[in-house]
Each structure stands twice: as structure tokens, then as C-alpha cells.
């Protein structure tokens, strides 16, 4: 379908944004395709919300271009863009009830086709003449058409029966559903969500993650989601964009970002990680923790100093004689599903291991892992 089209739905070209002397975005290049669930992930201040606001049209970039289906929309105002936004604070209009909030955009909707004036020999009234002269777009939706669309959106977000509730009397989760319904009822090409789950409690947040993903699948709308929560990003996204200090660090699927982070920053941001300094021995070997390891093909030159990433859940604790690395248990914490064990290596600081076994502090243990768990990253 549209996926096969060579032109991405949204294309950001070298977007830069300064607020005063602060450079918030330092050259963002990003393609977003149709039907994708894209997450902009990063800590606060990394520019992810600014990027979203630029796509929505609430900020204009200092330099750079935004293309929408190949068309430049850099200076198009928000009300002429095929994007709709779910705001962080939801921004539900307090003077309107649930129904009227959702109908807000539909009531403003004007078709591009001009209104037709019947040619029945009757002279046009003054009002009709004015409309014919000045109004290019006059085809509005009728209240019945609006009601149909609104009710459909309300049932889509499971708010049936609450049509005439005051938005001030809704819970956080319900308010968010109204905000989503208000945006998707307009059938945007792109739905922008700004930290939309952060105000909800943990249980509701998890529920909404699945609902959002399901909604994205069933509506076929492209979602661009901003969050600082890596778990949220991993659960929902087709494509994760990791940002740092106004730059994009890495773009990839959840698996790519988790398994092959490009550097220490991304590795630390997504999941727990043990990072050791290593040195390339030859095309297939790397040295770290005082030992040489076979690591398969890699892209680094011989003698290069690299960061070696091991994920705590990939490490196993074994008898010292069987361990690839040997160390002493420094501390152990119970985390529910697993124990978090810190193992002190003789020369390399501390390695964290996730294990289901209890190991007393002070015990000498061996650590083992398989070749594919060794991941080499460029040093920052």
C-alpha cells in the first residue's frame, strides 16, 4: 500500500531550532513512514518535544525543512496540517463536555469543494452572493454527520455513556481517552502524542500502552509518540528514535536499539547495561577484563579502544573454574523477579548480573556469557 511508496510521509531535513542562545535542535534528519508507530525517546531537554511541536506546527524551525508527502509544510500553520496532537496536559476545553470536545474539530471542518448554488432561475440572496464571492470552502458537516463520527470515536475509546460528562469530572485515564478521541475523530494522517502517558499511574499506563498500539493498528494512523520512558518505547514502537542534546543518536526497531546500541549513551538509556573498556586484538577477537574473547566479525580497526556492552540478564554466575571472568560478590539486592548481584572484578570495577539464585556477599564467582552477547560500541 502506501508503505511501498518511495516518499516518506514526513521528512525532517536538517531541522535546527534555537531558543535565544540555546541550541535545542542541532540538525535533525528523520523519515517517518505511513502506518508507523514512531517513538522519540530521550531524557528531558533532549529536544524530543520540540521536534514534535515542529511537526505539529506549534514551533517553526530556525532552519531546515519539513516535508509532508514530499510537499514542504515548514510554514504551514497547525490548522492546515494533517496532524493532530494529544497534549501532555490533554488541553480539554473546560467549557465543553465530552461530546462537544470531540466534536470541536468536526464542527470547524470545511470541505475543499465550494458550495454549490442551485441554478433555478431564482436570484441569489445577498448572503449567498457574499458566500459565492468570498468563501471558497463552505461545505460543512451536518450535526447528524458529526454525531455519527463522534459516537464512533467515543465507542472506539470506550467512553460510551459519558458523552455529556463535564471534562473536569473525569479521571486522568478518561481525560486522556477524550483527548485521543478528539484527535483521531478528524482522521489525521499523523497523530502526535506528547508524553501522553506520563500523568497516569503505572497500571493504567501499561493498559494504555497496549490500547494505543491496538488503536494505531486498527486506524492505520501514523503515531509519533514522545516519551522519556524506555519501557514505553520498547513496548509500542515500530521505530525508536533515541535523542540526545538536540541530536538523533540512533534510529531503529526496538530490537535493534536494545541489542545493538550504537554507543554507551543509548545502551545506558535503554535497559540495564555493563560496559567495560576493551581493545581490538584482530578481526575476530577483543580483549577486556584481562582476557581475550572471540567476538566474530566487527567493524573496528586493530588496536582500537572500544566499549564492550554486556546485558546483566545475559550473564550467568558459575563456579570460578568455569567462568570467563572471575570476581567477588560485592552486594546483592532482591528485585522481585531476580536478584541484582554486583560482582567486583580484580581490575575492572563492577559488573551487574541479574540472576534468580541467591549468592552470599564475599563469595568468589565466575561469570559466563555467549559470544553473541558481546556487543562492541564506539567509545564516545
Amino acid at each position: 500500500m502506501e508503505n511501498s511508496s518511495p516518499v516518506p510521509l514526513i521528512e525532517l531535513r536538517d531541522i535546527r531550532k534555537d531558543f535565544g542562545t540555546t541550541k535545542v535542535l542541532k540538525g535533525i534528519n528523520l523519515n517517518i513512514n505511513s502506518n508507523e508507530f514512531v517513538t522519540l525517546l530521550g531524557p528531558s531537554g533532549c529536544g524530543k518535544t520540540t521536534t514534535l511541536r515542529i511537526i505539529g506546527g506549534f514551533e517553526s524551525p530556525t532552519s531546515g525543512q519539513i516535508l509532508f508527502q514530499g510537499k514542504d509544510i515548514t510554514s504551514t500553520p497547525p490548522y492546515d496540517r494533517s496532524t493532530n496532537t494529544v497534549f501532555q496536559s490533554y488541553a480539554l476545553f473546560p467549557h465543553l463536555d465530552v461530546y462537544d470536545n470531540i466534536a470541536f474539530g468536526l464542527r470547524l471542518y470545511q470541505s475543499d469543494e465550494p458550495r454549490e448554488f442551485p441554478d433555478d432561475g431564482q436570484p441569489l440572496t445577498f448572503k449567498e452572493k457574499v458566500q459565492k464571492l468570498f468563501l471558497k470552502k463552505t461545505k460543512h458537516l451536518t450535526e447528524a454527520e458529526i454525531a455519527e463520527k463522534v459516537n464512533k470515536a467515543i465507542s472506539l475509546v470506550n467512553l460510551t455513556g459519558m458523552e455529556h460528562r463535564n471534562v473536569g469530572h473525569l479521571s486522568g485515564g478518561q481525560r486522556q481517552r477524550v483527548a485521543i478521541a478528539r484527535a483521531i475523530v478528524l482522521r489525521p494522517k499523523v497523530l502526535l502524542l506528547d508524553e501522553s502517558l506520563s500523568a497516569l499511574d503505572l497500571k493504567l499506563r501499561k493498559e494504555m500502552q497496549y490500547e494505543l498500539k491496538e488503536l494505531q493498528r486498527s486506524t492505520g494512523i501514523t503515531f509519533v509518540f514522545v516519551t522519556h520512558d524506555q519501557e514505553e518505547a520498547l513496548t509500542m514502537s515500530d521505530k525508536i528514535v533515541v535523542m540526545k542534546d538536540g541530536n538523533i543518536e540512533q534510529v531503529g526497531t526496538a530490537e535493534e536499539i536494545y541489542n545493538e546500541p550504537i554507543d554507551r549513551y543509548v545502551a545506558n538509556f535503554i535497559g540495564d547495561s555493563d560496559i567495560l573498556e576493551g581493545k581490538i586484538i584482530d578481526e575476530k577477537h577483543v580483549e577486556f577484563g584481562g582476557e581475550d574473547f572471540y567476538c566474530g566479525e566487527h567493524r573496528f580497526p586493530v588496536d582500537a579502544v572500544v566499549d564492550v556492552l554486556l546485558r546483566p540478564e545475559d550473564l550467568d554466575i558459575v563456579y570460578p573454574s568455569k567462568g570467563k571472568l572471575v570476581g567477588i560478590v560485592d552486594s546483592i539486592f532482591f528485585k522481585g523477579v531476580f536478584y541484582e548481584v554486583d560482582v567486583k572484578l580484580p581490575n575492572e570495577g563492577i559488573i551487574t548480573v541479574h540472576t534468580t539464585d541467591y549468592i552470599p556477599v564475599g563469595k568468589t564467582v565466575g561469570l559466563t556469557f555467549s559470544t553473541e552477547d558481546i556487543h562492541l560500541m564506539e567509545q564516545m
Binding site: P78, F93, N166, G168
Partner: protein
């Protein structure tokens, strides 16, 4: 056991009784002050309105009201007062809204500077400011030959000049409280600036508009100095406030003066009621908007959840 329970009960009632007493006690001076300064004069005015004096006798009567209604001059003065107040309120609203909007949406520093600038003229006595305009109008007339003093224009100009800040301040306060995200949401949903104004800014600033109208319309309808000094002694510009004044200070017919005051109060009460009703038809949930106006959006939401 029984004794124990009894004891607790006793303590509880004692505690409550004491609390209630304390509240009543601390509020008493305020109630007394209110009685003496507001309620008592009001009762006297109402009583006076139904009384008259002949020779040495004071008696109850409705004559004052029939005198007011049957005399065309009095009714005309009342009508003119309301008309001037109405025109002033409309002009103030039109002038104040853009200014208030600008102030309400500027940064805190700029905002406090602008508010100060708007309130600075209020530090000068109102009579002095009106006399200044009297002089200015006189000078303009002598240069250009256009008569300004003693015209509708002069009266309305004076009223707008004096009462504009009373419209701007409540308006800007309510505009300032509107979360900017509402404007963005409106534009995001397809409203251009004009539509956003009518569908979001205006309804959300309605509490400010209502209090602004009240704060301009009431004093404008009863103002004495402005028609007196800018009316140039023209009897056309004897408004209802001047009438009441003349019966209390220049004449000695307190009874008739009180009757006029009562009629005026009732008329104003009715007009304010109508304005509030107009608001109610525009906004669906009053309680929420009221809370919103008082505490801002987030607080109102919290209150709603409780």
C-alpha cells in the same frame, strides 16, 4: 465503660461547641460593621422611599414612586443614564479586550509593568482628571471651533476614560489564567485565529467579561461628577446620579431622593441579572467555570475529582 463513652461524647460536643463559638465570636465585629455600614443605610433608604412629610407629620406613602414614574424628566434621566452606561460599557469592552488579551499573554515582567501603567492614572483623584479633560476639551474647542463640552461625546469619552481600567483588570486576570495549551489545541483541531478567539478565548474569559461589565456599568450608570463637569451645565446631561445628589444635598427631600435610588438599584439589579443569564446560556457548566475562574484550571479539575 458507660462512663467512659459518656465522657468522650461530652468532650466531643464541648469541642465542637467551642469551635462554633470561636467562629461566631471572631466574625461578630465584621457582621456588626456590615450591619451598620451596609444593611442599616439600605433599610433606611427603602423606608425613606415609602415616606413623605407634610407640615410636621411624617407618613407612609407611594407618592414618591408615582411622582417619579409620572414625571417624564425623571424617567428620561434614568433612561439616559442607562443608555450612557450601556454605550460606555460596550466601548470599554471593545477597547479593553485586545489590551487585556495582550497583557494576559505577555511575560510576567512585561505584564506587571503594563498593569502598573494602566492603574497609574487611578492614583490621581478622579475629579482632578475629569477637570483636566474639561480644560482640554475647552482648549480644543477654542482652537478648532468644534464644541466638545456639553455633548454626548464628552460624557461618553469621560466615562470610558475613567472606567476603562475597571474593564481591563478583570479581563486580563481571566485571560491570563487560560492555559496556552487550549489555544494550541484549538489550532491543532483546525481553528484559525478568529475561530479560536470565538470558540476558546471568549467563552473561557467569560467570567472576566461579566465582572468587567458589572464593574463598568454600575458606576457609569450612577456617576455624578462626569456628567456634571463635562456636561457644561447643560440640563440635558442631568443624569440619575445628579438627580439623587440634588435631592439629598441641594434640596431637602430625602424621601424622593431615596425613591429614585431604590428605582435605580432595582433597575441595575435587573440588568446585572440579565447579563449573568446571558453568560449562563453560553457556558454549559457554571460551577466548573466559576471554580476555573477562581482557582485556575488544574485546581478546578482537582476540585471536580473530589
Amino acid at each position: 465503660m458507660a462512663f467512659h463513652v459518656n465522657n468522650i461524647k461530652k468532650q466531643k460536643t464541648n469541642g465542637k461547641g467551642f469551635k462554633a463559638n470561636a467562629t461566631l465570636f471572631s466574625a461578630t465585629p465584621y457582621f456588626l460593621l456590615l450591619m451598620i455600614l451596609v444593611l442599616l443605610p439600605f433599610i433606611f433608604i427603602i423606608l425613606y422611599a415609602f415616606m413623605s412629610k407634610s407640615a410636621s407629620k411624617i407618613y407612609l406613602t407611594l407618592d414618591n414612586f408615582s411622582k417619579f414614574v409620572t414625571n417624564g424628566n425623571f424617567v428620561a434621566a434614568a433612561g439616559k443614564s442607562l443608555l450612557f452606561a450601556f454605550v460606555t460599557t460596550v466601548i470599554c469592552l471593545i477597547l479593553a479586550y485586545p489590551i487585556a488579551y495582550f497583557i494576559g499573554r505577555s511575560k510576567a515582567k512585561v505584564r506587571s509593568l503594563l498593569v502598573t501603567l494602566i492603574t497609574v492614572p487611578m492614583w490621581i483623584n478622579m475629579l482632578l482628571r475629569i477637570l483636566a479633560w474639561q480644560q482640554i476639551f475647552g482648549m480644543i474647542s477654542s482652537w478648532t471651533g468644534i464644541t466638545l463640552l456639553g455633548t454626548d461625546f464628552a460624557i461618553i469619552f469621560g466615562m470610558v476614560y475613567i472606567f476603562l481600567p475597571f474593564m481591563i483588570i478583570p479581563l486580563y486576570t481571566s485571560i491570563m489564567k487560560i492555559d496556552p495549551a487550549f489555544y494550541e489545541a484549538s489550532k491543532d483541531l483546525g481553528a484559525d485565529s478568529v475561530e479560536t478567539f470565538f470558540k476558546v478565548s471568549l467563552p473561557l474569559s467569560m467570567p472576566g467579561i461579566i465582572s468587567g461589565i458589572t464593574m463598568v456599568f454600575l458606576p457609569a450608570a450612577t456617576s455624578i461628577i462626569i456628567p456634571q463637569e463635562l456636561g457644561d451645565g447643560n440640563s440635558k446631561y442631568i443624569l440619575i446620579g445628579n438627580l439623587i445628589e440634588s435631592y439629598f444635598y441641594k434640596g431637602d427631600d430625602y424621601y424622593f431622593g431615596s425613591a429614585i435610588a431604590v428605582v435605580l438599584s432595582l433597575t441595575l439589579l435587573l440588568s446585572i441579572y440579565l447579563v449573568n443569564k446571558l453568560d449562563r446560556t453560553n457556558v454549559k457548566d457554571r460551577s466548573f467555570v466559576k471554580k476555573y475562574a477562581k482557582f485556575g484550571y488544574e485546581k478546578a479539575l482537582e476540585g471536580g475529582n473530589r
